[in-house]
């Protein structure tokens, strides 16, 4: 039997994020027998990122000069780098709003002489280092973590959320306005779009098990664009959603447009489309996506 010291070294580097990805990883114990965890702040007491890492998971966006330093150091010491969570792929929740006033007042209050400096915005990690595999999700489920770690090459991921949702799409149920928090409890069997909810599962990458839509919560798109929409202009993604809603509902187009611009969608939709506007970023091919 091999000793644990022979197991491949595995490390987790957290940049600016909420730790949700780390919490999700700890929800699975399947990796314990496959890897030797050598670095993960809080979980392993060491301040140095070790050499010769086989797999490095990076969560969080690059938001401070300290993040950038740690990212470059970690990347240079690992054979394979996996970007995990929506923040690592897009910069993160800090991009939630275009509001320049809020961003300026935020940067004012965050500038302190003796602390790591904030960069002008939060960046996705592939702005600075080579990424071998992308695992989007807020957070990715423990099952997806295991897929990324153990069988990325043969992974079969549902193309869109609808594939795993199981709700029935009806042709004769056409809502005339957007449903919201005050619309009561949705029917458990019928597609949320048929019931007027602003669900973006039709263009969002699957693999999550439709965790939100099955119990009746509209998909907010945390896994980002499905393969056909990778690297595409924001308008391309929004157009597709508009088409879905005009095909399946009688909601006025102005109302659909206003709803698509709402902040809770910009939490994710905005992050991923924002990403495509930076020409210096590498293309993300579907082979690299989990």
């Amino acid at each position: 039997m091999e000793t644990p010291k022979d197991l491949p070294k595995f490390a987790v580097l957290q940049l600016s994020g909420c730790s949700g990805c780390e919490v999700s990883l700890l929800n699975s114990d399947e990796w314990i027998s496959n890897f030797q965890l050598v670095y993960m702040p809080l979980v392993v007491s060491t301040h140095k990122i070790p050499e010769d890492i086989e797999v490095l998971l990076v969560s969080g966006g690059v938001r401070t000069d300290e993040d950038l330093h740690n990212l470059r150091k970690g990347a240079s010491r690992s054979k394979k780098l996996i970007a995990v969570g929506t923040c690592a792929l897009s910069g993160g929740v800090a991009q939630i709003r275009e509001g320049h006033i809020s961003r300026e007042s935020y940067l004012d209050s965050s500038h302190r002489l003796r602390l790591p400096s904030m960069l002008p915005r939060a960046y996705p990690i592939d702005k600075f280092v080579h990424v071998d595999l992308y695992l989007p999700g807020c957070p990715p489920t423990p099952e997806l973590f295991i897929t990324a770690l153990k069988e990325a090459e043969n992974a079969k991921i549902a193309s869109i959320v609808c594939q795993e949702c199981g709700r029935k799409k009806l042709t004769d149920m056409r809502p005339t306005s957007i449903s919201g928090p005050r619309s009561g409890t949705p029917d458990p069997e019928i597609c949320l779009i048929n019931q007027g909810y602003l669900c973006v599962g039709t263009s969002t990458r699957g693999g999550c098990g439709a965790l939100c839509t099955r119990p009746g919560h509209a998909c907010v798109g945390c896994r980002g664009p499905a393969n056909p929409y990778l690297n595409k202009d924001p308008e391309f993604v929004l157009d597709n959603l508009r088409r879905v809603f005009t095909r399946m509902t009688d909601i006025p187009i102005e109302e659909i447009n206003a709803a698509l611009a709402s902040p809770w969608l910009s939490l994710f939709l905005g992050q991923f489309t924002d990403y495509t506007q930076d020409q210096s970023l590498p293309q993300r091919t579907k082979e690299k996506m989990i």
């Binding site: 909420c18 949700g20 007491s45 401070t64 809020s102 003796r114 919201g180 928090p181 005050r182 409890t185």
Partner: protein, 404 residues
């Protein structure tokens, strides 16, 4: 170390959308943030959720307490007790490898009960979604409750074993290092009640230096009692209670609890009070108290799931309106308050009073105590780095979110 900055990003957002956004302040405490956020809007809109929803939210928060305390105890602080660098560090010989492997697996199993409870009552394992303004979107079906009860019944003895082991390891560690850490009296802050340990709480309580409960106040009044400032050496906010150092988190709750109302947790509470007095002050007691709370939360979750959480009204209708509202919950690290000001249906201002700000002065003092012990004119002891780690882990801080 960063600044989350949510109080800036949410300005101008439609108020009803904020409950999806703010759980992302912290993936560890997303549950507490989501419930506090919903409660703050219910306060603004003048909505009272039905009793069934209040119960289900409590189950949700118990799940989070289990997940958090199991993580802190077994993953973060148990390695300190055996001088290892992590729970997943295994020795070379087969016997120690097997023991370590089983310890790691058992610990993650207990932790998973918390995760499963969050999924059951919250609809998502992180960043839950079922708690909404006016109640919860669905109740807990009998068969799902029964399956969860069965798991808890199976694993409660395992958890008790782990906690007993942990307690024993702590005693051995204290024999080795010769101290339980900073044990000067402080004020204590918690929002659970003395004989009714509810995490879905309504009032804050304060215990003064001499161990007497001296103040009770609603979250709306917090500014009259608690002062919060920014500093230039940390992005974390730093609070004091009318000029006094205070502490929140497990030790504060235990000092302010007479009885849990569940048999095993009450037995541990009695053992703790008899051994260390009430109030107890040394910082490594925070860790023992997490063990007591872990056992309580498992027992209480089982008790609550045995009641009917399936039938009855889960949600009431509401009409939004403008105003100011406060949402309070007892998060694993102490009382969490969200304060929102809503104008024309949009968030005009939002404040997040994160529990760790209440521990910042206490952490600083405990670090000074450790430094004085291990730094002398003759030199710096090798124990210092480990002692600093133990202090920080005892407070289990949420520094990244606790910004000002």
């Amino acid at each position: 170390m960063e600044m989350r900055g949510f109080s800036y990003y949410v300005q101008g957002i439609p108020a009803e959308q904020i409950t999806v956004i703010v759980p992302r302040i912290c993936g560890v405490c997303s549950t507490a943030h989501q419930v506090a956020s919903v409660k703050a809007l219910e306060d603004v809109f003048g909505v009272t959720p039905p009793p069934l929803a209040t119960e289900i939210r409590e189950v949700l928060l118990l799940g989070q307490l289990i997940q958090n305390q199991a993580t802190s105890l077994f993953i973060f602080t148990m390695p300190d007790r055996v001088n290892a660098s992590s729970l997943f560090e295994m020795g070379d010989d087969q016997e120690s490898k097997a023991r370590q492997f089983s310890l790691a697996q058992m610990s993650l199993k207990i932790r998973k009960i918390g995760t499963d409870l969050i999924s059951l009552a919250g609809g998502q394992f992180i960043h839950p979604i079922k708690t909404v303004i006016g109640g919860v979107t669905s109740s807990i079906p009998r068969e799902k409750a029964d399956a969860m009860i069965k798991t808890i019944e199976e694993l409660l003895p395992v958890a008790v074993d782990l906690v007993d082991n942990y307690w024993q390891m702590s005693l051995e560690m204290v024999d080795r290092i010769g101290t339980w850490g900073d044990d000067e009296p402080t004020y204590y802050l918690a929002s659970t009640e003395a004989d009714n340990f509810r995490l879905n709480s309504n009032q804050l309580r304060v215990m003064c230096n001499e161990g007497r409960q001296c103040h009770t106040f609603a979250p709306q009044e917090y500014e009259n009692y608690i002062n919060i400032e920014a500093s230039d050496y940390s992005y974390a906010g730093i609070s004091d209670f009318q000029g006094h150092i205070m502490r929140a988190n497990s030790l504060a709750r235990i000092n302010l609890t007479n009885s849990f109302g569940t048999p095993k947790a009450d037995a541990y509470l009695k053992r703790f009070d008899e051994a260390y007095g009430k109030p107890a002050h040394a910082i490594l007691f925070f860790d023992l108290c997490r063990g007591i709370e872990l056992v309580y939360a498992l027992e209480k979750a089982k008790q609550m799931l045995e009641t009917d959480l399936q039938n009855g009204e889960a949600m009431v209708r509401y009409q939004p309106r403008d105003g100011i509202g406060f949402g309070l919950v007892e998060a694993p690290r102490g009382p969490l308050i969200h304060r929102y000001e809503v104008e024309n249906g949009l968030i005009k201002n939002a404040d997040f009073i994160i529990p760790t700000v209440h521990n910042m002065l206490a952490i600083r003092r405990a670090l000074m105590v450790a430094a004085k012990r291990y730094v002398s004119p003759e030199g710096i002891s090798n124990e210092l780095a480990r002692a600093v780690g133990r202090v920080v882990r005892a407070f289990d801080p949420c520094i990244a979110c606790a910004t000002k």
